[in-house]
């Protein structure tokens, strides 16, 4: 359908009101980097669209050791913030300068694999999402927000308004491996966070991108790491576990076979980098 109405609410309240009045047929977009190509190609044919660019949810502010990120914060803003280095790196490795000026952190959580690499970093940081609608506000762990391929826990009358990154302990590392250096979908994305008491790992997150219906936690790999001292045996066992529990797919970028092999390799490389604190060479 040719778009007959395009709403640009100037506040969250206005946006929530429009959504409840127009219901499920109102297509919600933020930066437009997911929706507009589908509309331009005539694959998505919405009659009514609401753009969230000006609802004022595009601020990043530190909050008690963690970070509050507005849902429509651009990836360029996430790249420029210095509070959480892994999120800056995740933004830097996504798309191109122009697209980062338009695409939003919230939009990245809806982007199907092999896209959505900021979500991988957020998953390793135990991020939470805040959803708001006519029936009120609720907070949900990101791992429960992404429920399947291109599906989330969002209720029909709800909007994603913010992402909360708690103050989390531990060193982090992030690598996105693509077929080329820049502006390319991911073969595999690995985000690792490890908290240690002396040498012993007390808590571990291994998040994987482009190898499942959405960003995945490699829980078996995490279980292997907890209690270890990141010795080579533990690293290899964790890499093997991650390669086994991921659910890679074939697409034009890489085959499932290759993605699984690269999960094994890059989880190992990420953990080794943590041990050596050597800047990880993503290429």
């Amino acid at each position: 359908m040719t778009v007959v109405e395009y709403f640009l609410p100037r506040s969250l309240a206005q946006a929530v009101d429009l959504l409840s009045r127009h219901g499920p047929d109102l297509l919600v977009i933020a930066g437009g980097t997911v929706a507009m190509p589908l509309i331009n190609d005539g694959i998505s044919l919405p009659r009514q669209v609401m753009g969230l660019r000006f609802v004022g949810l595009d601020e990043i502010e530190p909050s008690d050791g963690g970070l509050r990120i507005g849902a429509t914060t651009t990836l360029t803003s996430l790249l420029r913030q210095r509070h959480v280095p892994m999120l800056a790196e995740a933004a830097r490795r996504t798309a191109s300068w122009s697209i980062r000026n338009m695409g939003t952190v919230g939009g990245n959580l809806f982007t199907p694999p092999p896209g959505g690499d900021v979500a991988v970093a957020l998953l390793a940081l135990d991020a939470e999402v805040t959803l708001e609608g006519s029936r009120g506000r609720r907070t949900l762990a990101l791992s429960e927000f992404q429920t399947g391929f291109m599906t989330t826990a969002l209720e029909p009358q709800e909007l994603l308004t913010g992402i909360g990154v708690p103050a989390v302990a531990g060193e982090t590392t992030y690598v996105k491996f693509g077929r080329k250096e820049a502006n390319t979908p991911s073969v595999v994305t690995v985000a690792v966070r490890v908290a240690r008491d002396g040498e012993v790992v007390t808590d571990a997150r291994v998040a994987l991108g482009a190898v499942g219906p959405h960003a995945l936690r490699a829980r078996k790999a995490e279980a292997v790491l907890v209690g270890s001292s990141l010795e080579p045996g533990a690293i290899d066992e964790a890499a093997e576990a991650a390669a086994e529990e991921c659910e890679p797919f074939d697409d034009g970028i890489a085959s499932a076979w290759y993605r699984r092999a690269m999960v094994r390799l890059f989880v190992r490389r990420a953990l080794e980098e943590l041990v050596q604190h050597v800047a990880l060479e993503g290429r």
Binding site: P37, K180, E181, A182, N183, D250, G252, A254, L265, R283
Partner: protein, 343 residues
């Protein structure tokens, strides 16, 4: 984690022209009252610089500066027939046609100049800077612009020319394949240097260095542009791009520039070249074609360099990291089996 380096070479030739001959091009030239010239064509500029190159050939033949020639293409109401731009044929075919047209226009120009200078046509010469001189008597000369203006208003003469070029079509003998399909051959020899990451299978192309022999270069900067752009395209063909990643399985066809993987600025190797000029026997001023061949030699040079680096020869383009990794794993398996067998 090993990064293995290797180099590979390839030597190729490439024909100029297509369709077993029978691919004609024509050109019309006329002088304007101000002494500049307009060339009418229906040939197309794909970015290779046809307008500039054909303008230079016309200007050279007319003895005027390049910016005195305007190329009017492409319009089927005003431009005479041209087969089209492909097969590295345009500079050779259209060049020959425009040279013939320019020669005819030059003859008309010199005839009017002879009247103006009251000198025999045979004794006149163009100095290449827009002047007609009497050989041996440099004092007696006249500007081409003046001759053109006088031709229109005083002598009532047209200074124009027609040109056509066609290599006669040669049929193919269906039994033996005997044929005469092209006009000349350009040559290239490329050396590629690569680095293979044996854990990811990824190939970084460090250098593509080539020697080309392309007959006379009409515009060396544009020739270099084809060589550098072709080196990049060859690298892309060799390692990255395909519309069917799992050919002959037709699935997962890319639909946009993110799924159709081509190397970006970050993957740029060092590209260097030297260009030799051996005049062709059939091209205008010894020209040959160069545009189409420049992606050809880099492809096998890169594949050979990969084999030299890591001992894996992938005979299935594009040579993706997955194919190299599978090749390495197979190679290591046979090596360890052989070692086991050897004990």
């Amino acid at each position: 984690m090993a990064k293995l380096r290797g180099t590979g070479i390839a030597a190729v030739n490439y024909p100029t022209g297509m369709n077993l001959g029978g691919d004609p091009s024509q050109a019309l030239i006329h002088a304007t009252t101000s002494g500049s010239f307009v060339v009418a064509l229906s040939s197309t500029d794909l970015g290779q610089g046809l307008r500039t190159v054909i303008g230079q050939i016309a200007a050279e033949t007319l003895g005027v500066a390049a910016d005195e020639v305007v190329i009017d293409t492409a319009d089927t109401d005003t431009g005479p027939h041209c087969m089209g731009t492909f097969a590295s044929r345009a500079t050779h075919r259209v060049g020959n046609a425009v040279k013939a047209a320019a020669e005819e226009a030059r003859t008309a120009l010199l005839e009017v100049a002879a009247l103006e200078l009251n000198a025999p046509v045979g004794g006149l010469v163009l100095d290449g800077f827009g002047n007609v001189l009497v050989a041996g008597d440099p004092g007696r000369c006249v500007r081409v612009a003046e001759v053109a203006s006088k031709a229109q208003f005083e002598y009532g003469r047209t200074i124009s020319g027609r040109g056509a070029y066609m290599k006669p079509k040669s049929p193919v003998d269906p039994e033996t394949g005997a044929m005469d399909p092209d006009s000349t051959e350009a040559h290239a020899c490329t050396i590629a240097e690569v680095e293979v990451d044996t854990e990811t299978g990824q190939v970084a192309v460090l250098g593509i260095r080539s020697a080309y022999e392309v007959g006379r270069q009409v515009n060396p900067a544009l020739v270099r542009g084809q060589i550098v752009g072709g080196a990049w395209m060859g690298m892309s063909h060799a390692l990255y791009e395909t519309t069917e990643p799992y050919y002959p399985n037709p699935d997962h066809k890319p639909k946009d520039f993110s799924e159709y993987v081509m190397p970006g600025p970050a993957e740029l190797p060092e590209i260097d070249c030297v260009v030799l000029e051996v005049p062709s026997s059939t091209g205008p001023y010894g020209v040959k074609g160069v545009g189409e061949m420049t992606a050809n030699s880099p492809i096998p040079a890169i594949v050979n360099a990969i084999y030299h680096a890591c001992g894996v020869r992938v005979d299935d383009l594009p040579v993706t990291p997955e194919k190299i990794l599978r090749g390495l794993e197979a190679k290591w398996a046979t090596e360890s089996a052989a070692a086991a067998g050897g004990r």
